[in-house]
């Protein structure tokens, strides 16, 4: 098999809808999303699993899409930032990031929000330390981590009130 020119077909569920695409075999999930499916919320920060910008949820778990060959999500459920809200209605985390100035340049934001979403699903009342621990794989260079942590605390409160 020629890894540069041959293709294989992968089918999986993306933001609750089935997708199938033919890509070169070593194509990463990140490239599949950005360059083949043109969903651009997932960002390319380092391509080495070091920064968290490309974080997506695979079966609800935060996953570095730059390191994962798309062939390995065959039959799995992938969620990107595009999949957590519909037009005109923001997810509570999105609302909180907006309100708390937790997105300055915005490049890390997609990964931050998805990592936080997975955290709040397994732990609806995280402490500051638990939030910091959950975000330890997501780098930010502009905003600073404090407004991000405060946004997640605020979203957790509002999600509880909303239930």
């Amino acid at each position: 098999m020629n890894t540069l020119t041959d293709t294989l077909t992968v089918t999986f569920k993306l933001n609750s809808k089935p997708v199938a695409l033919a890509v070169p075999p070593l194509t990463t999930l990140r490239s599949a999303l950005r360059e083949h499916l043109h969903l651009h919320a997932t960002k390319a920060g380092c391509g080495q699993g070091g920064c968290g910008s490309c974080t997506v949820l695979v079966n609800g778990e935060p996953t570095l899409s730059c390191l994962l060959p798309v062939a390995l999500v065959e039959g799995q459920e992938v969620t990107t930032l595009e999949g957590i809200s519909s037009y005109g209605s923001l997810h509570p985390l999105q609302e909180a990031f907006y309100e708390h100035f937790a997105a300055q340049c915005g490049y890390c934001t997609s990964g931050m929000i998805l990592t936080a979403k997975a955290l709040l699903e397994r732990n609806p009342h995280p402490s500051r330390e638990e939030i910091a621990e959950a975000l330890s794989g997501n780098m930010c260079r502009c905003t600073g981590y404090l407004p991000i942590v405060e946004a997640i605390e605020d979203a957790a409160r509002k999600m509880e009130e909303g239930q």
Binding site: L4, H38, H40, C46, S85, F101, C105, G106, T109, C142
Partner: protein, 458 residues
Amino acid sequence: MKQLGIVGQSVRRTDGIGHVTGTTRYVDDVFYPNMLWLKMVRSPVARGIIHSVDTSQAEAFPGVAAVITARDVPNNWYTILGLIGIGPNDEPVLADSEVMYEGEPICAIVAESEEIACEAASLVRVEIEEQEPVLDLEYALSPQAPAIKKWGNNTYMYDGMDHRQVRFGNIEAAFAQADHIIEGSYQMSPIEHVPMETHVCVVNPEGDGRLTVHTNTQALYFSLDNTAIILKMPTHRLHFIGGTVGGGFGGKVDVITEPITCIAAMKTGRAVKWRWTREEEFRRSSTRAGAKIEFRDAVMNDGRIIGRKVRSLQDAGAYHRHSPYGLQKHMANVAGPYNIPNVWIDAYCVYTNRQPASAMRGFGVTEASFAVEVQMEKIARTIGIDSWEIRMVNAYRNGQMRAIRKVVEDATLVETIKAAADLVGYELPAHLRAMHSNDYTREDNDQSHGEGAPRHDR
């Protein structure tokens, strides 16, 4: 008092919704149908003579659309600050005869995919005769070091001199009069900006002969002008589109991606994207300059600094970029925000075979502030005076003449220090609390400084 509409209010970002929904469009989110990808072949050594560049294997590799070398660049000079008189030009867009730092661009591969471009780039054979690199600031200034610049030394030439000078008052008289002479030497390493988004440029050749250039530059018109000069192309043929930058911090003002990507689009007639890897961003993009700053200060028992002699070296790396300008700002600020009547500064913009330095958040000034404030602390501790008093005694007052012959206006340092003391709950003693930025008169100054008083001659 009139109610203000915006001041004092919390205003949401105009781009906030785009950021939290992932709909903000960054340059890497721009795709054209049938788009090609670009990869750069870079120098493996810090300094050397290029004997040959053999691109035949890369050109024959399946999926390669074009190979670009120095011969393809109409005006092969980065002219970044040429528009404000920095020169002579010293940095080729693509190296043709010599390389001056590890990672210097030599030739670009344009191919059907990023992976094919990477593979083909590895097939370019560059024959380089390695030369001894100059990697240390002090060594670069020593007579033993090879001259890496065509004009015969390793510094930027300011009006025919190998450094920038400030001469104010009489520094030797200040040392003779001083109760203490306090020296300090401070060094800073180069610093990389590390924006989350690496450098990206996408160029599409349009049917009307124009180029549409999407770039994450921090200085769109600056990039437009310089690209036009490099391409020898009138600006009306270049449609530059900027917008959201995924972090810059000064690291994206170098016009380092647009010219080559334009040439690739013209040569192939297709859209081209050049996206730097994280490794390129760390090791090949410009940095904040490394610096070495030495002080020799004449200080009185009451804390007044009556003389400051500075020798400062800034490491520009291999090429000018923004460093000769950064050193100008440095020179203007390296005596600190203090009223010092006798100042002597020698500041050198030094070239080494390291990755070029350039702009970064207050470049030139930040380095000065770091060194000045550590030195102020050292003075305070040496003569036994507290950290607040040493700064308030010496802080600029309105009406005072700075060493660079500008009269201080709108000074706020004393007031800022008082506000800082309030914020941290520190009770300043009454004599410091009484100070303010308008408490200077010419008579005070002349009496208090005695023999060390400034002579405003050049």
